[in-house]
């Protein structure tokens, strides 16, 4: 009886040890992709494509990011968070979220329909606060540009 148990336990151990561990499954959360896009995407109307790329750059610089790659043809801008982290009084004084340090961000600008641009920013590691702040900064940059044009 004991022998049978020994053989069985050996068999189970061998089976477990040869079981294939899964590699990193980047598509494991594909049910979430559509929901994530809704959060990460902002639509803008009445802004020129080139000007929008400029607003994206401006906003990334506001986030204290260092630009890594820009492509006007494909509407891609990627950046990395700077080394500075704001804390304490400085963080309070700083009007916007400035915790971009250590983050990586990829922004794409695409023309959805005539006159409508879609801006999508993806932060790594994902950060809902960063998503919101980036959208806020873009809106501010556009508003400032429009105010400048009006005056």
């Amino acid at each position: 009886m004991k022998l049978h148990l020994l053989v069985l336990s050996l068999w189970v151990t061998a089976g477990c040890s040869t079981q294939q561990p899964r590699g990193p499954d980047f598509f494991a959360a594909q049910d979430q992709f559509a929901a994530n896009r809704v959060i990460q995407i902002t639509r803008f109307e009445g802004v020129e494509y080139d000007a929008m790329l400029g607003h994206v750059v401006e906003s990334l610089l506001d986030l204290d990011c260092t630009l890594q790659e820009t492509s006007k043809q494909f509407g891609v801008i990627s950046a990395r968070g700077g080394g500075r982290r704001y804390s304490g009084n400085l963080a309070m004084a700083h009007r916007y979220w400035a915790g971009c340090a250590g983050h990586k961000v990829t922004v794409t600008v695409t023309e959805a329909t005539a006159g409508q641009l879609v801006v999508r920013a993806t932060f790594f590691p994902p950060n809902p606060e960063a998503d919101k702040t980036f959208q806020l900064l873009i809106e501010r940059s556009i508003a400032q540009a429009r105010a400048g044009e009006a005056s």
């Binding site: 022998l3 053989v7 050996l10 061998a14 040869t18 294939q20 561990p21 899964r22 590699g23 990193p24 499954d25 980047f26 598509f27 594909q30 992709f33 994530n36 896009r37 990460q40 890594q68 790659e69 492509s71 043809q73 494909f74 509407g75 891609v76 990627s78 990586k104 961000v105 990829t106 794409t108 695409t110 959805a112 329909t113 999508r120 993806t122 790594f124 994902p126």
Partner: protein, 164 residues
């Protein structure tokens, strides 16, 4: 007498155990043969099976739309664009999951007049598995990745076009 009794029981146990040990030995031998380590990696001949797994042809598409869909998938799966080039179309992206991964995408025209393009992906993965199964397991994970990527790219391309 006692010693003789012990010897008898030992012999009896050995007789009973022998077939079982033999069976175990055969099993180990079979497992050993089945999971024989792969031959050392060599550059030649080039493995064309892998190239076909990494490539997919898209017909009657617009280059910019195809690249845009590629970028959407890259963003969906949490990769960060590191470099892009427009001629030839190359996108290099990286991600940190379990280890550091680099993904290179190349879009080559097959027939620009009809809008036929070939997309090729290469995922540079670290060795995730220890020991002698590393090579086969890593290549199986990569094959799954390519299949999932193209499936998702196809879906994204047509979804994005439908929304316009």
């Amino acid at each position: 007498m006692r010693t003789s009794g012990k010897t008898d029981s030992r012999t009896l146990l050995q007789i009973k155990l022998r077939p079982l040990l033999n069976l175990l030995g055969y099993c180990c031998l079979l497992i050993g043969v089945a999971v024989q380590p792969a031959q050392a990696a060599s550059f030649f001949p080039v493995d064309l099976t892998e190239a076909s797994l990494q490539s997919r042809r898209f017909e009657q598409v617009r280059l910019n739309h195809l690249v845009s869909a590629c970028l959407s998938v890259i963003q969906d799966i949490g990769f960060h664009v590191v470099e892009t080039e427009s001629a030839p179309v190359v996108i290099v992206a990286s991600a940190q999951g379990r280890g550091f991964h680099t993904l290179t995408i190349n879009v080559q025209p097959v027939d620009e007049d009809t809008g036929d393009y070939q997309v090729r992906l290469v995922l540079d993965s670290p060795i995730l598995y220890p020991g002698w199964l590393a090579e086969s397991r890593a290549s199986s994970a990569q094959a799954d990745f390519y299949q999932d990527f193209f499936k998702h790219l196809n879906k994204t391309y047509f979804t994005e076009r439908a929304m316009q």
